[in-house]
Symmetry: C2
Subunit: 449 residues, 2 copies
Amino acid sequence: MQKEQLFATLSEALAANDKRAVRAELEQMHAADFALAVNEFNAPLAAKLLDLLSLPDHAEVFPYLVPQMQADIAAQMPRNELAALFSQMESDERADLFNQLSKEQQQSLLPGLAQAEREDVRRLASYPEKTAGAQMSSDYATLRSHWTVRKALQRLRLEAPDKETIYQTYVIDGDRHLVGTISLRELILSNPESLVADIMLTEVVFVRVDEDQEDVAEKIRHYDLLALPVLDSAERLVGIVTYDDAMDAVVEEATEDAHKSASVAALEAPMATVSSWELYRKRVGWLVLLVFGALLSGAGIAHFEEIIESNVALVFFMPLLVGAGGNAGSQSAALMVRALATGEVEMKDWVKVLGREIFVAGALGLTMAFAVFGLGLFRGGPDIAITVAAAMVCVVLAGSLIGLCLPFILSRINMDPATASGPLVTTIVDAIGVVIYLGFATVVLGLTL
Amino acid sequence: MQKEQLFATLSEALAANDKRAVRAELEQMHAADFALAVNEFNAPLAAKLLDLLSLPDHAEVFPYLVPQMQADIAAQMPRNELAALFSQMESDERADLFNQLSKEQQQSLLPGLAQAEREDVRRLASYPEKTAGAQMSSDYATLRSHWTVRKALQRLRLEAPDKETIYQTYVIDGDRHLVGTISLRELILSNPESLVADIMLTEVVFVRVDEDQEDVAEKIRHYDLLALPVLDSAERLVGIVTYDDAMDAVVEEATEDAHKSASVAALEAPMATVSSWELYRKRVGWLVLLVFGALLSGAGIAHFEEIIESNVALVFFMPLLVGAGGNAGSQSAALMVRALATGEVEMKDWVKVLGREIFVAGALGLTMAFAVFGLGLFRGGPDIAITVAAAMVCVVLAGSLIGLCLPFILSRINMDPATASGPLVTTIVDAIGVVIYLGFATVVLGLTL
């Protein structure tokens, strides 16, 4: 069913306070789709609507709501209801919600939780955003190495309802050190009397609590994992990150990089849901900075003012030249930013990619020079044609090399390479392009400053 | 171990033809990491190296190699060895490799395969690239609705070694129509005497064979699925796409969009592995096109040539103004392209986002106008200041709106919105910016053409 249609149905049911109708809708669909329609209500109505569901159903839909909506609804819930909802939620989602609440709400909520839950929420909510710790769940299944497969399977059966996954399990020793991993598939295929120690994999891929969520996702993807165990600094198992959270992180990071590549700072929430003020704030910084960067181009032009005055035809070709340089630079920057983000290219590869780039950019520059030479001949005569063509080769080459090097330089000084955005590259290359072009013109046209 | 270190160790072992050493290395690590080092060899040496492994080990490493390497190695393998490797590979990976082979290689390979395999390869390899059909695996587990849970579990245990996943299974009828789905967790938790029909979920999320891999990945992510069943036009179950393939597709699509956003056409292979010629080809088209687009700016400047001649100071501000417009436009385009790609914003939402954008872009334009007004005052006096400030508001507004609308327009005419790249937007906005700026100058400075 379409979101709009469902929204209409739910609005009606809500107006009539028709519990049965609301529950019947959810029965027919995935909670993720139901949540899409709930997101369209304002928070008080959404809260009322969710109140018509049973607690387990409420807890199933709730995590699929956008974070702002979750916080708004939670803020309005009576303390005991919120506590009940909390105990039904998965540990990682619960911790995310906890972090969305105000300090007062957090303080009022904690006493309502069972002690184990309270500690779990506090612990998971304490890790910095976008780290493995912040992303992980504490609902994982553990085994002991001296158990038989039969016993392991019995335990998994008992624990299954409360665990995020039982398909990948982790073997720990008495100090919670991770000693192995085993999949449910392997358990099922093994002799029930075998020992876990004899069939477990001992080379376990893991991450540390403070690792970046981007690296977590990359590991899950590289090794095709269902879940990745998270260890603290004392090598103890403290959580797992599952593939679905990793996939969300991949999309989130790709969005953030796409925004940065266009000089938009990282948004706090999906673009469709943020306020105008947030959008303004995230865009204005770079825009103003780049205007002052463009002063360099202006200064370059001012420096050559007399030459322009005596040869106004030169101005005609300026957008072509500086544009081409900026575009070639944007291309190189985008190729490099993405290659660094996916790990295809590493810092130490920069000499290799630089060599290829000089070759490719040279060929591109020559092609473009050829294209504008005719144009220069037609509009300004041979001198202008030579000036424009020669400047084109240099500008495209300079633009490409700047676009290529900037991400490496930013990465070296521990900034996100994605900040080497098209607009930043364009602004830098524009200034250089103006100087190259008008410099060539001075020489070729035999002009003097 | 680092890739470089492993490469050195493997080189030595290969030179000494030391089977044991090579196998010992693989024993200690994940096949994905082993493959990273194998990728560094040239194809004949890589083939020799893999020959030192047992067939199952070879088949485990092989799919992790980059596609070009797979094809090169396969081309050199004796027919019977390649056929043996094929039968060990997973069905989707096998079909991808098949598509990399030349027509002659395909023809020579097919007779060496068992009939079922042959048909499976032919079928999977026949779907167009980047569709669910091309991505899917035929190694999925099916159940029948009249089976008991006990029987279902017995069958899964038997089939487990050959299936890509047994954690999500699909219930089909006699005509292979999909009637339900059930997870292994639910099977394990159910009474062994229950019927599959009574515990299966009947609202199954699925895709069609011809659906785009981007939509497949989005469904897997939205519903947090382990695997997504694929149906043909007659509603028959023909395959599944697993989450790990979906995650690869997400990264692949994000890379492609990042490249398109910088006017680089989609590359056939990872950027680090493509040839210079491929890079040149994928970049030159847009670059040349955009140079001719920049002619519009040149023509705009030519139109106002006399005004520039009598007021060369105007040229100083040109890069600031057209730059700001282009940058604001790049921001809007990137925000919109990404929102459309993730499904946050749909076609029908364009009026809503347009309203907000006018507001935000207006505020941005005013901020920037304020910034350049002082500069104009300082460098050119009040008339220039007013011209520059007024033009700035209009240019930023125009740039933002073009950046916002272009992805929608492209989407409407069935082009990829990501083609609304920064360089394209910048080129269009540059031309408009020139006309707005010099037009304002004509009016404010009381000049006549």
